[in-house]
Symmetry: C2
């Protein structure tokens, strides 16, 4: 808020108050290393005493960097905090950014109203770049990122094609289609014949690609309606979807769930109905995050190295910002089936 | 990074490219409402085409606001994502800030190396204020906040006193001492005589205050060594602490754990040893977050309205920033015992 009648103190005023040079104040304010701790502390006290608001543009005009990267997750906080997928991604991202002394700023989207505000912050020169994940098909984030000119890397293959002559978006993904194929072939090899699928939200490419891989492995062009139930990547959604599948006749003898959380929900429904896993129904998940190995029975699943994918996202963005060396191209990591007791 | 030989495009260049006035570009870039969507989009395209980097200070010189507030949690991401306490706090904070069109930026601290970087971002004029929680006694964050002059509100009573003549820190807390007293009195009223305590990290005031309340209710000046075990607010820590307590003789007939996660760990240890809850050992937690009601048996605990506390933190900061009306003083919310089957 503008404070009427108050002239904001200048860098020079801080320098005079602290009894140091203007350059020293500038170095402290800009976080440039090499200022002695005592001087740094003296400048800090003067900054506080005068109520000086350091001018972020003063620094960015010199360095063109803010030293921070926004991570925007297009999911409500309930999802972000309940799914270890996000914690692992963030750990990987934070770790790689920290190695280049770059700060991670996490921004969550609760609702559509939040987009405008996030747009303003991202366009406001407060961050050097953005990492965005969990995008849905109609998500305005990619257009916002493009309009702001902010270097951006996506988690998961974006669902749109680049215009002719323009470079495509940078992203990190796992080979979702191949992972799903491996899961379903494993179930077929185990003699399963009525293999159902619980999908994630099909406006996300990860969910759509896993469904495609399921269909490919079964040699189908379209899913058999009785064997498909839509979930939402949550455990509660998996629970509901499994109940739907069991209500149909004949029921499935196996289920491929689009992620581990939905698989754990499916296990709960099967247990509540007195069905044995894998004897009556075999279950495969996707992700191989910690809960998979702890579930009862431990879950056969498709492993993607989520933390490493986070590191790769940060790495691509650092390359884009000229802070790391390497090719500027999307990265797709391999998926690998991990067989445990649920199949 | 400076791009040698490239002159950064100006606001004027963007205005000329878009065929609009300088003021319109400024309004779009600064997120001022009232620009027609078509104009807004046209300016965006020019911004992207020219690679214009909006100057955050240009806006902050006018409004003195960035529209964002940092939330700094002095805990590793493993803790933040595993404890629903943080998700609830953040939900409350985000909800209250969103009502004033202010963006929440979450910054996690993985290690000591991160402090300098966070300090630089907080001092760099990129945020209007900060909310800090989960501070430990030797935490450098409060001094950083003071030195930067950034308006700051703390979650939990800070462990230091204000210097004479200075205003004390603004914070939101629950009445930890009273909550602990209620828990222990309830156990005494149930006929328990060897009431053990599992504490959180005692360099956090919440953990220390809960221990004080436990001692007060028992009329003790110091804990009985056989009945005290230190935990770390995690489920694994509660599991270990309970095992320690059971290794002593005579064992406890009740346990007051400093939070629900540690209580759930204690329940696991008791179950693994074949001890019945509450027949052999009664258990009380603290927080009353979702897992308390789902545990087996459901947990007697001390309820604090964590989401509301998050809203109050945001409210205090908004008042401090002149964006909301009301007294500028610490807020301590009441604690209330919730009795379930574990006692």
């Amino acid at each position: 808020m503008p404070r009427p009648g108050r002239v904001p103190p200048t860098l020079e005023a801080v320098a005079a108050h602290a009894g140091v040079s203007r350059a020293t104040v500038s170095r402290v304010v800009n976080g440039t290393p090499g200022v002695r701790p005592e001087l740094r502390e003296r400048v800090r006290r003067s900054v506080a005493a005068l109520g000086y608001v350091p001018n972020s543009a003063a620094r960015s005009l010199v360095t063109r960097r803010t030293g921070a990267v926004a991570v925007v997750i297009a999911e409500p906080d309930t999802r972000v905090f309940a799914d270890p997928f996000f914690a692992q991604q963030l750990r990987g991202i934070g770790h790689r950014l920290a190695a280049e002394d770059t700060q991670l700023l996490l921004m969550l989207l609760e609702g559509r109203d939040d987009y405008d505000r996030i747009d303003r912050y991202l366009s406001g020169g407060h961050v050097d770049g953005a990492l965005m994940f969990s995008l849905h098909a109609d998500d305005p984030l990619p257009a916002m990122a493009a309009a702001s000119g902010l270097p951006t890397v996506f988690g998961g293959r974006p669902g749109w094609a680049a215009a002719a002559g323009e470079p495509g978006p940078l992203y990190v993904d796992t080979d979702n289609r191949d992972g799903a194929r491996q899961a379903v072939r494993h179930l077929l090899a185990g003699g399963r014949r009525r293999i159902a699928v619980i999908t994630g939200p099909l406006d996300q490419t990860s969910a759509a690609d896993r469904l495609d891989g399921y269909l490919e492995a079964l040699g189908l062009a379209e899913p058999e309606p009785a064997l498909l139930a839509r979930g939402d990547f949550t455990a509660a959604g998996g629970e509901r979807a499994m109940a739907e599948l069991l209500a149909r006749s004949p029921g499935p003898d196996a289920v491929f769930a689009g992620n581990d959380l939905m698989a754990s929900g499916a296990l709960r429904t099967l247990r509540a109905r007195g069905l044995r896993v894998p004897e009556d129904v075999a279950v495969v998940g996707y992700d191989d995050l910690e809960p998979a190995a702890w579930s009862d029975p431990p879950l056969t699943t498709v492993r993607q190295d989520v933390r490493h994918m986070g590191e790769l996202m940060a790495e691509l963005l650092l390359r884009r910002l000229g802070l790391a060396e390497g090719p500027l191209a999307p990265v797709v990591t391999p998926a690998r089936l991990v067989v445990r007791a649920s199949t």
